[in-house]
């Protein structure tokens, strides 16, 4: 018993305290050092902070270089997949484009109206700082869903700024270094964004699910049975960090889904981020003075113009629809006529064949009759050198009534 305890102590001492031939520090020393580093870091000790910032700057840049080959392979793979899916996606895009083009004008009108009414209620935010950045590191860690951008405090990036890919919100800035910054994605479990669920304007807090999508929390008891497929999630603007109405995703639920289990399918795939927009918002500081009234009038004129255009397009689309119907009817008639012609031609051919048959039979009857009367004048016997029965010469002879 004593012996085994000694062995254990010796093994532990050897593992943790003994320095190897090429080791400058013992394992236990370094473990203590990491603990101290961790503790000082959590208390924002200045020296440790400086070390942290330097390490971050170095690591982000190096990681970008180290990830280069893998990114090339990934991009090539995506390219090949795109080529394979090109035709089918082209077809579906073509179909969608037609629909979107007609919807585009409606959207323009709605947007203009929206701006007008927001200005009226003093809730119109404008972008006061817009920075485009490249995604340096896109880390798919199971613990933290975040990306690192190549812009930092040097480029006026500040904590809490909204990060958009296109027009869709993807996250917010949570860490700013001099040259780089970290964005906490919406899918992270620690991300909490105040959102509004349209069309009923239900308020909730959206939290990431730690994977690709998000879930809704603190949502009040509301009837979700109607239009559940069309429910959109946008920022609510509560808290004043983001402006209201930035698109996030769509509710993914069925009629049986519980209220506490509402998932949001975000529009953007966070694994495919390359360039993003970092934006901060501020309220437009304009009262409803003469200038803004003029602006409203201009806007009204624009809305009117857009409405007219929309109406024209609607009429053109209707005309197109009617023309397509007429064309379809003509094509149907044409096809029916073609069928009739074909049937008549078939009948004509049948009739011609029947006439030919009758003529042939008539000739045969005539020959048989003449054969009875004049056959003996043409038939070859022992005493004459006339024609053999069945030969064409015999037939001719019979038809000429025995005249040779």
């Amino acid at each position: 018993m004593e012996q085994s305890r000694d062995d254990f102590v010796i093994a532990i001492r050897s593992a943790f305290l003994k320095k190897g031939a090429q080791q400058r520090f013992s394992l236990l020393g370094l473990i203590f050092f990491s603990v101290i580093f961790l503790i000082l870091g959590s208390y924002n000790f200045k020296v440790v902070d400086l070390v942290k910032i330097s390490i971050k700057e170095i690591v982000y840049r190096s990681s970008f270089i180290v990830s280069g080959p893998e990114k090339i392979i990934g991009a090539s793979f995506n390219k090949i997949t795109d080529h394979i899916n090109h035709y089918s996606s082209y077809k579906s895009i073509e179909e969608k484009l037609g629909k979107f083009e007609s919807k585009d004008l409606s959207n323009q009108i709605i947007m203009l109206e929206n701006i007008k009414y927001k200005k009226l209620v003093d809730d119109y935010f404008i972008k006061n700082n817009e920075i485009f950045a490249k995604v340096l590191i896109d880390k798919n860690s199971p613990f933290l869903r975040s990306v690192v951008l190549n812009k930092g405090s040097k480029n006026n990036i500040k904590l809490g700024m909204a990060v958009l890919d296109g027009e869709y919100l993807i996250g917010k800035v949570v860490e700013v270094n001099f040259f780089t910054s970290r964005v906490l994605l919406l899918s992270d479990i620690n991300s909490k964004i105040p959102v509004s669920v349209s069309p009923n304007d239900i308020q909730a807090i959206m939290s990431g699910d730690g994977k690709q999508n998000a879930t809704l929390q603190y949502i009040q008891g509301t009837d979700f049975k109607n239009n559940i497929e069309d429910m959109m999630v946008t920022t609510s603007g509560a808290g004043g960090l983001f402006k209201s109405g930035i698109l996030i995703g769509k509710i993914n639920a069925t009629e049986n889904t519980e209220l506490n289990d509402l998932n949001v399918d975000v529009f953007k795939d966070f694994t495919q981020l390359k360039y993003v927009k970092v934006i901060s918002f501020s309220k437009e500081e304009k009262a409803l003075d003469q200038t803004s009234k003029k602006e409203l009038k201009t806007m009204d004129a624009q809305i009117l113009e857009a409405t007219k255009q929309k109406e024209n397009i609607r009429i053109l689309l209707e005309e197109k629809k009617i023309a397509a119907e007429v064309r379809k009817n003509i094509e149907e008639e044409n096809s029916q006529l073609k069928n009739r012609i074909y049937n008549l031609q078939t009948k004509l051919l049948d009739a011609e064949e029947a006439v030919e048959e009758q003529t042939f039979q008539k000739e045969e009857m005539e020959f048989l009759k003449l054969n009875l009367l004049y056959g003996h004048k043409c038939r070859k016997t022992l005493f004459n050198k006339l024609h053999k029965v069945g030969t064409p010469e015999y037939k001719n002879c019979v038809l000429q009534k025995g005249k040779i």
Binding site: A11, G20, Q23, L38
Partner: protein, 173 residues
């Protein structure tokens, strides 16, 4: 083959191969922690550190492990120092196993690796959740531990093959 083995660059590559692999896996954008499949992730760095501390302890220096841990924290976004601590603890457990083992046995190593994983992941979970107030998905953590344990055998064979392939260097030295 002899030319390859006598080549200085190849020798250096062999010497530092585990270290290069550790830093690449830690710093690469796509690492083995999460390959994007649902409920599938494993920690490659743990496997690498445990194997090489057990089989060729001079391959990974303690300082390198400490620095690799710091890099990992920066990339993953964890509090700085926690991965270093976990890497060094893992290294300590592996050193202890090496000291008490007279006849190496793969299955025993594997079981010990599971115990080590459970201890260091529990430690990591407790410190992240209770001290640093991170939200961690339980399922992900458990799946990560499970797959890291399962893949140890697979990677052991690969590393063993690589070590055997380069065995000439060691003999040459």
């Amino acid at each position: 083959m002899n030319n390859l083995r006598n080549n200085n660059i190849s020798r250096i590559f062999f010497e530092y191969f585990p270290l290069i692999l550790l830093f690449v896996s830690v710093m690469n954008d796509f690492d083995f922690n999460d390959v994007g499949l649902k409920y599938f992730s494993f920690n490659f760095s743990y496997i690498l550190i445990f194997y090489y501390t057990l089989k060729r302890k001079e391959a990974l220096g303690y300082i390198s492990l400490f620095v690799a841990g710091l890099f990992n924290d920066v990339i993953v976004g964890l509090p700085m120092g926690i991965s270093s601590l976990l890497f060094l603890l893992l290294c300590g457990f592996a050193s202890y196993l090496r000291n008490i083992t007279l006849r190496p046995n793969l299955v025993k190593d594997w079981i010990f690796f599971l115990i080590t994983l459970l201890i260091i992941n529990s430690f990591s979970y407790i410190s992240l959740v209770f001290i640093f107030e991170y939200d961690i998905n339980h399922t992900n953590s458990i799946v990560n531990t499970l797959f890291t344990f399962i893949f140890y055998i697979f990677f052991t064979y690969i590393f063993h093959f690589i070590e055997n392939f380069f065995i000439g260097y060691r003999n040459a030295d």
